[in-house]
Symmetry: C2
Subunit: 78 residues, 2 copies
């Protein structure tokens, strides 16, 4: 049992891919996206690689930076 890391993490991988695709579609660097979302560039990189499961609050900040709704990113990541 774990507080924050359930064994099943398909959504973590999927979200990373969705985030990267959306960022590139806007022609943004990881650094530019991180600045827009007020997150650290390294954190954005880890999330994109599927190495870190983002908090829902980070998902919200990233969605706003990309001009979409959080639920839209999550739906595409499912």
């Amino acid at each position: 049992m774990s507080d924050t890391m359930p064994a099943r993490r398909g959504i973590q991988i999927g979200f990373g891919r969705v985030l990267r695709d959306r960022r590139l579609a806007l022609g943004l660097s990881q650094e530019a996206l991180a600045a827009r979302a007020d997150l650290h560039r390294n954190y954005v990189g880890e999330v994109e690689r599927g190495a870190k499961c983002p908090s829902l609050c980070a998902v919200e900040a990233l969605a706003e930076a990309l001009g979409v709704r959080p639920s839209e990113l999550v739906r595409d990541a499912e």
Copy 2:
């Protein structure tokens, strides 16, 4: 700047309310939901109160435990 806690956390509050409403609609205790989702009961309580922003992986585990899609919970929390 913060890695995991952007200043705007409306979704954290909204998600807590949605989670609580869905849990009660199924007649589940926090403990029962936590067991289904393989999360700690205290963690579920903190998320429901809006005191903690859940990871997207925890959102996925909770959604599965509630029989809905993660994006459905997030959409209702927006």
